[in-house]
């Protein structure tokens, strides 16, 4: 690359600026988590690691909440939700993509309409339903409203529709039943779409706060976000930024690590499925 292309340089500069803006909170969190507690100066807002790193903040954060249990509950909620969702959205996506039945369009638009609802307005009706089902204050109650996902159904329908019918026709000629079609032909081909949906689902449930707070009362059933908030939110006083940063680091770390490990697959999935 002998000559510098001005357009490419400009693009690089613009990208660097965006990266800087987006990474600043993460960077600050990582640095503040290891910064010795100090209220005397401006340095707590600094992004420059000009100190001897300490684990005190982590010790205090770990002491402030039962992290192993919180991790366990959050993993159960995320993976439990995802497992049921993958089943429901695959089958519903298949129905909307391939099957013919009266009222299909209407039902599909009904599903899409549900995407327009802001989740908090459903808190009270959902909680009433959950209570009637006897799921109040249980992890199953946290998961239940998400078992059917309009977004997932839409995504899987679009994914299935990109797969040429030839594969299915060949399978039918070989005598495959409808569920063999789905399981052996469509699901393997739709994997990028499912991975993309899985990421969106896990990240949103990992970070969710309000709904688990509504459903769960027993401390033993709390998820990470509630545990984190219980020692970092104070409305009428200043904050111990170091402990907040350390706690946030602990909550975010598993997702960050997973992203670093599977970066290539993630990016491929998103490129394939067009999810941003």
């Amino acid at each position: 690359m002998g000559r510098a292309n001005p357009a490419a340089l400009l693009a690089l500069a613009a990208l660097s600026a965006v990266v800087l803006v987006w990474s600043t909170p993460l960077l600050w969190m990582a640095i503040a988590a290891f910064r010795p507690q100090n209220f005397g100066g401006l340095d707590m807002a600094s992004l420059w690691p000009d100190f001897v790193p300490t684990l005190d903040n982590f010790a205090e954060a770990l002491d402030s909440a039962d992290f192993p249990l919180l991790y366990l509950n959050t993993v159960v909620v995320c993976l439990g939700t995802l497992a049921v969702q993958l089943t429901t959205v695959t089958l519903a996506g298949y129905a909307f993509a391939r099957l013919r039945f009266p009222g299909k369009e209407l039902v599909f638009y009904g599903f899409l309409l549900q995407l327009m609802l802001v989740p908090p307005i459903l808190i009270v009706p959902n909680l009433v339903t959950i209570t009637r089902l006897g799921l109040y204050d249980s992890l199953l109650g946290v998961m239940a409203p998400y078992f059917a996902s309009a977004f997932g159904v839409f995504l899987m329908r679009q994914t299935f529709r990109t797969i040429p019918k030839d594969f299915e026709e060949a399978a039918i000629v070989d005598g495959a039943t409808w569920w063999q079609l789905v399981w052996r032909v469509l699901v393997p081909l739709a994997r990028p779409g499912m991975v993309a949906f899985g990421i969106v689902s896990v990240v949103s449930h990992w970070n969710e706060f309000l709904w688990p707070l509504m459903v769960v009362s027993t401390p033993d059933n709390q998820t990470l976000t509630i545990g984190l908030a219980s020692f970092t939110m104070g409305a009428e006083s200043a904050s111990q930024w170091g402990v907040i940063a350390a706690g946030t680091f602990l909550v975010a770390a598993p997702l960050l690590a997973a992203f670093a490990l599977f970066q290539r697959q993630f990016v491929n999935s998103f490129l394939f499925s067009g999810v941003k």
């Binding site: 209220f39 005397g40 100066g41 401006l42 707590m44 002491d63 402030s64 909440a65 808190i123 009270v124 909680l127 009433v128 959950i130 209570t131 109040y136 204050d137 706060f209 309000l210 707070l213 509504m214 009362s217 027993t218 401390p219 709390q222 509630i226 908030a229 219980s230 020692f231 939110m233 104070g234 409305a235 009428e236 006083s237 200043a238 904050s239 111990q240 930024w241």
Partner: protein, 332 residues
């Protein structure tokens, strides 16, 4: 939590009156927000363990329920879903709403069942707190951790600026004067602000209430919940004061300053005077390195502030056992 509040909580938990020997322990849960700093969630659990040890017939669980607002949402949703908690530490702002909606029960019958009069019960709390708990002829809440806005000032800055830390500003005129003297500028940039007020929801509203009351007015009609006075001369006067501080004298940052940023700036010596809750006192005591003092929010016409913080309420729809167990937890 202020010392008074801790003492009140300890008293509530140690002096609780046993509700007689029941065979099975009554399960109750109490919703609590974390309005103050630190490991309150853990301390709350310790207090509950102590209470449970002293009352074998009751099994009380403290349930962390987020901020004041989230506690409000959760309580409302739980009541609608038919699972009311036995007790809630509810922001004083919302208690009236529950009373108007008929979702909480008056405590008078329980007070009387203990052989007390409502007057004697309320007599245990500072008179200033009564308005939040006793209205419409009944006791609807037990004051729990209540607070008021307070003026905190950096005594070292006062001395350096030629002000007397033993004689902090008492009137708005003195306040503006002090803020102007305390502000340190370097050309057009402000190195140190004379004053900072928390501007985030719902801190600012509370501070504006205090300033409106200091200006001789009221923020809302205390006799009739829901009637507010946003366009009265006293309110506009309070607004003008804040506007002048920020834009005319430029002794206060404009825009929204979060309450946490205000206390951080105070610790860092970037703000010489701040208005914060009495609930911040112990946190400031622990973390402030410079000498500091506290004073009443300066007055224009009178010294007056609004009570904030939270009270214990008891939702309707509890069984008699749970009601009694909740009362044992609440009373003291």
């Amino acid at each position: 939590m202020s010392r008074i509040a801790s003492a009140a909580l300890a008293a509530a938990l140690t002096l609780g009156i046993g509700s007689g020997a029941a065979l099975a322990a009554t399960d109750i849960e109490m919703f609590f927000p974390v309005p103050v700093e630190g490991k309150l969630a853990k301390e709350m659990k310790n207090l509950m363990d102590r209470f449970n040890a002293e009352h074998p017939d009751i099994k009380a669980t403290a349930v962390y329920t987020g901020s004041y607002d989230e506690t409000n949402i959760k309580t409302r949703a739980a009541i609608k879903a038919g699972r009311p908690p036995a007790a809630v530490i509810m922001s004083a702002n919302f208690v009236l709403e529950y009373q108007i909606n008929g979702e909480i029960q008056p405590l008078d019958p329980l007070i009387q069942a203990d052989g007390q009069t409502p007057d004697a019960f309320m007599g245990k709390f500072w008179p200033a707190l009564h308005g939040n708990a006793r209205f419409a002829g009944k006791v609807w809440a037990a004051p729990f951790h209540n607070s008021t806005p307070l003026l905190y000032f950096n005594a070292d800055h006062f001395k350096a600026a030629g002000l007397d830390p033993n004689n902090p500003p008492k009137t708005w005129a003195e306040w503006v004067d002090a803020a102007r003297k305390l502000t340190v500028r370097d050309g057009d940039t402000v190195k140190r602000y004379g004053l900072m007020l928390p501007g985030n929801y719902d801190y600012l509203g509370w501070v504006m209430t205090a300033l409106t009351m200091s200006n001789g007015g009221l923020y809302y009609n205390p006799e009739f919940g829901g009637e507010v006075y946003y366009d009265t001369p006293s309110m506009l006067g309070a607004l003008t004061l804040v506007d002048n501080m920020a834009h005319k004298y430029k002794v206060m940052p404009d825009g929204v300053t979060d309450g946490k940023a205000v206390s951080t700036a105070f610790f860092a010596g970037q703000a010489s005077m701040v208005v914060l809750s009495t609930g911040s006192l112990s946190f400031i005591r622990q973390n402030m390195k410079d000498h500091y003092g506290v004073a009443f929010v300066p007055r224009n016409l009178r010294n007056a502030v609004a009570i904030g913080g939270a009270s214990l309420i008891m939702p309707k729809g509890l069984s008699d056992e749970r009601k009694q167990a909740s009362w044992t937890l609440t009373s003291g």
